[in-house]
Symmetry: C3
């Protein structure tokens, strides 16, 4: 796979992650009984937070602030989230544990972990740096929105939230070392992270407490 298709894969992952996390973040905001502005804030922050952290770390002006397309996707995702919240609960009750939320969140986690790994590798980071950008891009937005709600971030509450993103970043590093790069590596990591996260939620996996 060439550079173009690799870039296209990262761009595609980014769009998927933006949409999925905008939905997941706005559902989280609706559950917290925030007003529309607060819901939109959580949706935007959840969708753009991880990538912004990633870009700041690698010394780029955040893509979210340079392109307009990303934002339209996120706002569309917020709208979808509000509709889903209303459709599932009639405006009452919680959707956080509904599979719609869990799937959207897992998709965002997977897409951003993959794009984070690719961006980190392109920036010439160390193996650890790639794992960190994969993990932070995946969990950064959700963690920021949790902090805004003064909750212990899901990254600390759920064992297999950050773990799949971290393993995805490690897998990207191993794949790159093995000569597997570009779109193949990016898409493979995304699928692996998504499957691992969904299975972890379904099976209720957790690590032993120290």
């Amino acid at each position: 796979m060439g550079v173009v298709s690799a870039a296209a894969a990262v761009a595609a992952m980014n769009l998927v992650g933006l949409l999925a996390f905008a939905v997941a973040g706005s559902l989280k905001g609706a559950d917290a009984d925030l007003d529309p502005f607060g819901v939109a804030t959580l949706g935007v922050l959840t969708a753009l937070g991880g990538g912004t952290i990633r870009d700041v770390l690698v010394g780029r002006v955040p893509a979210a602030l340079r392109s307009t397309g990303d934002v339209l996707v996120v706002l569309a995702g917020v709208g979808v989230g509000l509709l889903v919240a209303w459709a599932l609960t009639g405006g009452t009750g919680r959707v956080r544990d509904h599979s719609a939320f869990l799937v959207a969140d897992a998709v965002g986690l997977a897409a951003f972990a993959a794009s984070g790994a690719a961006v980190g590798a392109d920036a010439g980071l160390s193996a650890f740096g790639v794992v960190v950008t994969a993990t932070l891009t995946g969990v950064g937005g959700g963690s920021l929105s949790d902090l805004l709600l003064t909750r212990t971030p899901v990254v600390l509450r759920e064992d297999f939230y950050a773990t799949p993103a971290l393993l995805g970043g490690a897998a990207y590093v191993v794949a790159a070392a093995a000569g597997v790069r570009g779109a193949t590596a990016t898409l493979g990591v995304a699928v692996g992270v998504f499957v691992l996260r969904v299975v972890a939620v379904r099976r209720g996996w957790s690590l032993p407490t120290v």
Copy 2:
């Protein structure tokens, strides 16, 4: 208005915002019964936080770390805040709801929203990027100090706190598109944000909950 007066307007807005938020932040710290160091920390963080986030996002070394003048202004503001807290309450009671706090906070919000929009536009950000830098520059410092106090940031608690800053950023974008730039746009946005924030507080405006 030329580039010089535009730069002067941004610099003036910045000074006003630094002083106002240093006062507001130290009053907040005094209300939280923090020791002088904690009060100064909140004042400095509230005053310098938003601009630092803005500069990091547009890839600049934060002005707060490069210039000494800004800091002297902030420390002066902290001193004023401590005197105000003492004068209003004799060292007891709360000043958070006192108009002195609300006005200082609204002035800081307005000045930083305007300077954030101008800096974002100068950095060649997208329309959304300008709105974000305006909003984050305006609410960033207060949000960081709220997080330090482990409170849900005012940005989520009060509907019309971030909203005026966001609308100010949008107004700056529209004005620029209409050919209104420089000092006129910057000062106009600052006045608009201040009026909107003060009226919102006085009238107790809020958005409907989802």
Copy 3:
């Protein structure tokens, strides 16, 4: 002392800080009954957080993401922390008030305050900028891990936690103005901060509340 020895001193301070904060952070995580991933997260965040904030502020790609050695040191520190937690408590009880934790934390604070001051000065920051980078490098990692645990950061809870780092940064500035630079200044600041922090803890120093 020449540039080389100065650089060597900063590198040495950095290694010491990484190891000490990795131990202190993982002990904090163990006390919070986090799972191994959470403990490692707190250890890594505590060790790498301050330096990452420092590097982002001065416009560098964080050293933590560029070098692999730092990370191995941190992971070793996490391992040591887990062993210490187990050895001191048999896996039960708290180690936060144990001198092993306090000493490790004071060593990290001192080492990072010194390296932060040196990096800030090298980046050509203002005197205040050097004080800020010294303070944030020293307290940033611990504050981030406290925020992840949704605790009011120790920087606000304990008067003489940030204060020694701040005074260390100020001392570095004064020393530089007096012509004392390089390794001498860096090591001197580290020793001073460590002593000040340990004495403050032992004596239970605190500042009067406003």
